[in-house]
């Protein structure tokens, strides 16, 4: 009987307010490709972080190649032959491929690096996996797909027995998938196991031998891939019929008059994207990570360069204005609420009042702006945005995620934004506050604001939108009415090629 490469038994892990994993067990056999499926927040990432020693479990047993690990650290796990390839790349960008592959194992001769030998070794590793990469280029110049290949080669050169990949296909385009799968097959033939996360079911069926389906921190099913169909997995992932508790949602806006039109926009991440949003309407764009949803949000707000196409905003007399800079967009009443509020949205160390008036400060023209005026207008806006804080002098970094998002919304209510673009409107916000944000969104739409939501959360877009547009790898692949946008339906649309 062969020893399992990785065995997790009864793993539990909780974060403040969330039970991320409860009694999760997982077995990876040698020379197999094992997929973990689940929707966002099912606990997939937490599980593999624990498996690779990046986080510690609250309880449970981890066994690697039969050895029980009590205090898993990255180091001990790596020494036992488990290598992880995370989404945030772990590389030295200015060193060459050779150096990155061999890293601390560069061959030495007479105490200096033997470059000739090093290159030969690096080349051998590449050839063994049929990876074609220029071993002399600095890693900075590689594409995401090439980086992944390089990391796989490095993992193999470090004698990995199990390679863990966190959404390896997320940021790859369609034609980049095939080489990746070929390398994974090579690994399997060489007896190396692969554990990977994906929520693209077609990929799972293409490459995986075994599958584990997770939902809300528990394993709902696992087994050989032949025991499943895409439909059965999708059902397992979501588990329930998604109730359409969306009675009050259809908009009363004038849908014949578009406010925001995105016309055939291309960039390095977006490919020929067109859509329009009308006053009073909530349109969501969704897709997996790497679909280009977040880029689209920033692009629509004028905060990113496009290679072709046009972004048009219609004013009240239905005249169109092309947008090419963030400032221009602001002057046309386009608000942008980024996903990463802490880094890209708020002045964290400054007061609530400073943050809430930032929109007015940016768009107004009166050169004089006294502290008294600032505080007055902040006090006027704060209640209407339902911000819960002791007072307007509170440092904004001390507020909860939900309240910070309301500060962002308040900022744009202050300038009477006509179009609001949300990138992941409820990222980092607890469930109770999520619903407050949703009703805030609907209130805004009812007051005549055109709302574009870019979100990777299928459940969320199904709940708040009038229309949902599905993207994949920078392309729009489908559109569905909000009332019909169940998670299953969206997943199906996203999977279809």
């Amino acid at each position: 009987m062969t020893v399992n490469v990785l065995e997790l038994r009864e793993i539990s892990k909780s974060f403040p307010g969330v039970q991320a994993l409860s009694n999760v067990s997982l077995i990876v056999r040698p020379g197999t490709v094992h997929a973990i499926c689940g929707e966002n927040g099912a606990g997939k990432s937490t599980l593999i972080k624990i498996a690779t020693g990046a986080q510690s479990a609250d309880s449970g047993v981890i066994q690697i190649c039969g050895d029980r690990i009590d205090h898993a650290s990255r180091r001990t796990v790596q020494n036992l032959g488990v290598r992880a390839i995370f989404q945030e790349r772990q590389i030295a960008p200015d060193l060459s491929v050779t150096e990155n592959v061999l890293l601390d194992r560069l061959p030495k001769r007479f105490g200096r690096v033997d470059w000739k030998n090093a290159k030969i070794q690096a080349r051998q590793r590449m050839d063994a996996l049929e990876i074609s990469l220029d071993i002399d280029t600095p890693v900075r110049n590689l594409s995401v797909a090439q980086l992944q290949m390089m990391e796989i080669a490095r993992a193999v050169s470090l004698e990995a027995r199990l390679i863990v990949m966190d959404e390896p296909t997320a940021s790859l385009s369609r034609h980049e998938l095939e080489p990746l799968f070929r390398v994974i097959n090579k690994l399997r033939d060489g007896g190396v196991s692969v554990l990977f996360i994906s929520h693209h079911l077609d990929e799972v069926f293409e490459i995986a031998d075994e599958i584990t389906v997770m939902r809300d921190g528990v394993v709902v099913s696992h087994g050989e891939i032949s025991e499943f169909t895409p439909a059965s997995i999708a059902e397992l992932m979501f588990g329930r019929k998604v109730s359409s508790s969306q009675a009050d949602r259809m908009s009363q806006g004038d849908l014949s008059q578009p406010r925001l039109v995105i016309d055939k926009v291309c960039s390095n991440r977006l490919n020929d994207v067109s859509l329009s949003v009308s006053a009073g309407e909530i349109v969501s764009v969704t897709g997996g990570i790497g679909a280009g949803v977040s880029e689209l949000a920033r692009m629509a707000a004028g905060g990113m360069l496009k290679s072709s196409g046009e972004i048009l905003v219609y004013d009240d007399s239905h005249e169109s204005h092309a947008i090419s800079s963030r400032r221009q967009a602001l002057n046309m009443g386009v608000a942008y609420l980024p996903a990463d509020r802490k880094r890209k949205g708020l002045l964290l160390e400054r007061a609530l009042s400073d943050n809430i008036v930032l929109g007015q400060q940016a768009s107004g023209s009166n050169p004089i702006l006294t502290p008294r005026k600032v505080s007055e207008s902040a006090r006027a806006i704060a209640p209407s945005a339902n911000i819960k804080a002791a007072n307007v002098d509170v440092v904004v970094g001390t507020l909860s995620g939900g309240n910070q998002q309301k500060v962002m919304i308040g900022r744009w209510m202050g300038v009477n934004a006509r179009i609001m673009i949300f990138d992941e409107p409820t990222a980092g916000i607890d469930i109770a506050s999520k619903f407050e944000i949703y009703s805030e969104l609907r209130r805004l739409a009812d007051s005549g604001v055109a709302i574009l939501i870019c979100s990777t959360d299928f459940q969320e877009v199904g709940q708040v939108s009038d229309r949902v547009i599905v993207m994949r790898s920078g392309n729009i692949v489908g559109e569905v009415e909000g009332s019909k946008a169940t998670e299953g339906r969206l997943l199906e649309m996203e999977m279809s090629k």
């Binding site: 905060g303 002057n331 980024p338 964290l348 006090r379 819960k388």
Partner: protein, 347 residues
């Protein structure tokens, strides 16, 4: 929840940056002055006070420009040699027979252009200002030496109004310094531009995505700072009627030190003209007190360094407490020890 209200006035004053950063400096200034006066007399005499201000007026004008830059998250190391260059050019123009006013306008224009260049390179090409202006430092020093042929240039006309005349018994450089402080304080506190500067320095990406013209704001800061440096250079030249190409090589670092003393942080988003003014005065009082107390001059730099290190350590401790316990200033904990730590309630 009382969003409609501001926090209580007392709390607001205690927590304001003004009190946090400036009160300790003012206490230090008064303490040093009283001590020195007690030991030697005359320290607090009108003549000495004017002398102290006169000594730092050039540094002060440069430091105000640096305040704007630091508040915007930028930095300009080249202001010292730019000031020297301005003095040399000014003196040379006068000797060539131009009018005083024309010389001043020309110098300010040249300096503004250099500021514009830095601003465009920093904002447009995203070059780190530290490296860029380090390059500028050597460049200006060289040009100044070339123009002056490596020796001080005596100015034939004496620029009375710029460096030596007295208004109400006070030398003009002091007036210029005070006027610059007052205008800068107004601009930073009461204008849209001033708030753009703080927003840009606090979080440039967020400000840009909100629609604040961050690039324009940064460029303007560089232009203003360079122009002020040029003006300071002219004042320095006029005071001694000589354009010295080697004048004031320490000024840039001292100016940055003054800004940091006054509450600025190199990370951006903080710093105020009034704070910088007090920082400059503290540096000057310390310097003068050392002379009065007959401390040997080689200790001057050591004391300067210690004052600066002490100030940033105190600030850092205050920030740490703020981060850990909410916005509770270090001073308040000295005043009322038993006040419970207030965490903003959310419900």
């Amino acid at each position: 929840m009382n969003v409609d209200n501001r926090s209580p006035l007392k709390q607001r004053i205690l927590r304001s940056d003004g009190v946090r950063f400036m009160a300790p400096l003012i206490v230090a200034i008064i303490a040093i002055s009283l001590y020195t006066n007690g030991e030697n007399g005359n320290f607090l005499g009108g003549d000495n006070l004017k002398n102290i201000l006169l000594q730092v007026s050039v540094l002060g004008i440069i430091a105000i420009g640096q305040t704007l830059l630091i508040a915007a998250g930028q930095l300009d190391l080249s202001v010292a040699t730019l000031a020297a260059l301005a003095g040399v050019i000014g003196a040379t123009r006068i000797n060539d027979g131009g009018s005083e006013l024309w010389a001043v306008v020309l110098v300010l224009l040249i300096c503004a252009l250099f500021g514009l260049l830095w601003g465009i390179l920093v904002a447009g090409l995203k070059i780190p200002p530290f490296i860029l202006t380090l390059g500028g430092t050597s460049l200006f020093a060289s040009i100044a030496l070339r123009i002056s042929k490596s020796s001080p240039v005596p100015a034939r006309e004496r620029f009375e109004w710029l460096g030596r005349a007295k208004v109400f018994g006070v030398q003009t450089p002091i007036w210029y310094f005070l006027i610059v402080v007052v205008i800068a304080a107004f601009v930073m506190r009461y204008t849209r531009f001033g708030r753009h500067v703080y927003a840009t320095g606090s979080n440039e990406e967020a400000s840009y995505l909100t629609g604040i013209p961050t690039a324009r704001t940064k460029v303007l800061c560089f232009v203003i700072s360079s122009t002020l440096a040029g003006f300071a250079g002219l004042v320095a030249m006029a005071r001694i009627s000589t354009g010295d190409p080697r004048n004031g090589s320490q000024l840039a670092l001292q100016a940055i030190a003054a800004v940091v003393l006054g509450g600025g942080t190199l990370a951006g988003g903080r710093g105020s003209p009034i704070g910088t003014f007090i920082g400059v005065v503290l540096l000057a009082v310390v310097q003068s007190a050392l002379t009065f107390n007959n401390v040997q001059t080689f200790w001057n730099d050591a004391v300067f360094g210690l004052v600066l290190i002490f100030a940033v350590v105190v600030t850092a401790i205050g920030d740490l407490r703020r981060r850990r316990f909410g916005a509770k200033p270090i001073l308040a904990s000295f005043i009322r020890r038993n006040e419970p730590v207030r965490v903003p309630s959310e419900k």
